[in-house]
């Protein structure tokens, strides 16, 4: 019945290490934007989302409006909907409080570890351990953010390096979503559009617009292709339809 068991510590170790490094970098960027360690701690507990915190802070540095920050971060965080809808069947019998906390603790990394641990039958990964892993990761993330913010006052840090760390982080996350040709084209199209739109679209909305168009088009093409190739398919549209896409089929 333990939340923090020995195997939680073992499975969480790589996440803890990564969150410590990234959290420090995020805290340092926050300090550049005029945030203090308390702000960073609160932000990290409430948002618990690395990329959106980095983006939010970078946009604060440009004095972006609330609405463009909200839309951009929402697009970035939409992938969490993908994660929690994948995890939902595994926790369907748990209470509303549990599922709320569990989805709140889901990130790219905790999702990956919890999903594989639940799927490994022999592991008997418990719901308590899954939640323990989420919240231990969150605690490390929040402390690292606050500490990075505090420490950046002591060391002179190269802001261009910290901003590049953010770009590298996006690149690392991006690489996990380039699973087939359609996804690669979608990504490259969005990239080119974002560069073009940045010259003409106001309020820093170019990122949102540039990702809406190609993702919508790719989804539309995929659905057309699916309709054509499986016209008689009626039962169980849920089954494997998204998995098969991850396998590398082509729209």
């Amino acid at each position: 019945m333990g939340f923090i068991t020995r195997r939680v510590l073992q499975k969480d170790a790589p996440i803890i290490l990564g969150y410590w490094v990234l959290g420090m970098a995020c805290g340092m960027l926050g300090e550049k934007a005029g945030l203090n360690p308390f702000h960073m701690f609160i932000m990290s507990v409430l948002a618990f989302a690395g990329s959106s915190q980095f983006i939010g802070i970078a946009m604060m540095l440009q004095s972006a409006s609330y609405i463009s920050i909200a839309l951009t971060i929402l697009m970035v965080n939409l992938r969490y909907a993908l994660f929690t809808s994948t995890l939902a069947p595994l926790v369907s019998k748990k209470s509303a409080l549990y599922t709320t906390l569990f989805s709140y603790g889901t990130t790219d990394e905790t999702f990956a570890v919890n999903l594989s641990s639940f799927q490994e039958e022999a592991d008997h990964w418990t719901h308590e351990e899954a939640l323990g892993l989420d919240f231990l990761s969150m605690l490390v993330w929040a402390v690292a953010n606050a500490f990075g913010c505090y420490a950046s006052k002591l060391v002179q840090l190269d802001l261009s390096l910290v901003s590049y760390i953010l770009t590298a982080m996006f690149l690392g996350i991006w690489s996990n979503y380039l699973k087939n040709r359609t996804m690669v084209f979608t990504g490259l199209a969005a990239g080119v559009l974002a560069v073009l739109f940045s010259q003409v679209v106001p309020f820093k909305l170019h990122i949102v617009l540039a990702s809406l168009l190609p993702s919508g088009l790719a989804a539309w093409l995929y659905l057309q292709h699916e309709k054509k190739s499986q016209p008689q398919k009626t039962a169980g549209p849920e089954e494997g339809s998204c998995d098969s896409m991850e396998g590398g089929t082509e729209a």
Binding site: G18, V21, H39, L46, A47, A49, S51, S52, I55, M59, A70, I73, M75, V76, N77, L78, A81, L82, A88, P89, S103, D158, S160, L161, Y164, I165, T167, A168, M169, F170, L171, G172, I173, S175, Y177, T182, M183, V184, T186, G187, A190, G191, A194, V195, S198, Q199, H206, I207, A210, S211, P214, S215, A218, A219, Y222, L223, E238, S241, M245, E246
Partner: protein, 107 residues
């Protein structure tokens, strides 16, 4: 930066972090998520991260910069094969930070 703006953005981060996570979990208890929406969701991450990376590496202070002095672009070209091979956030951050610092020192 005003306290109001800081807490406003933190509140936005909290809501935009919480809603995409909790809504599918809450809905799925009663109804299945529409198929077209799930398909679209699978294409959002490749698009959004492309849209985030490209302006970071191709633009310098808002202007297209394809010169040899564009360190973010050079670094990205150098680390991309490694990142695509490992698909690791940690590798991307360490290799990116390291190569960036070296190029900045030497160029």
């Amino acid at each position: 930066m005003s306290q109001q703006y800081i807490f406003g953005v933190i509140l936005i981060m909290a809501l935009t972090g919480f809603l995409p996570r909790i809504i599918p979990m809450a809905i799925l208890k009663k109804h299945p998520i529409p198929h077209w929406f799930k398909v679209w969701l699978t294409f959002v991450p490749p698009a959004i991260f492309g849209a985030l990376v490209f302006p970071d590496i191709f633009l310098t202070e808002g202007h297209l910069n394809l010169s040899f002095h564009n360190i973010p672009l050079l670094t990205t070209l150098l680390i991309t094969p490694l990142v695509l091979k490992t698909k690791s956030l940690g590798v991307a951050v360490l290799a990116g930070g390291g190569v960036f610092a070296l190029l900045e020192y030497f160029l």
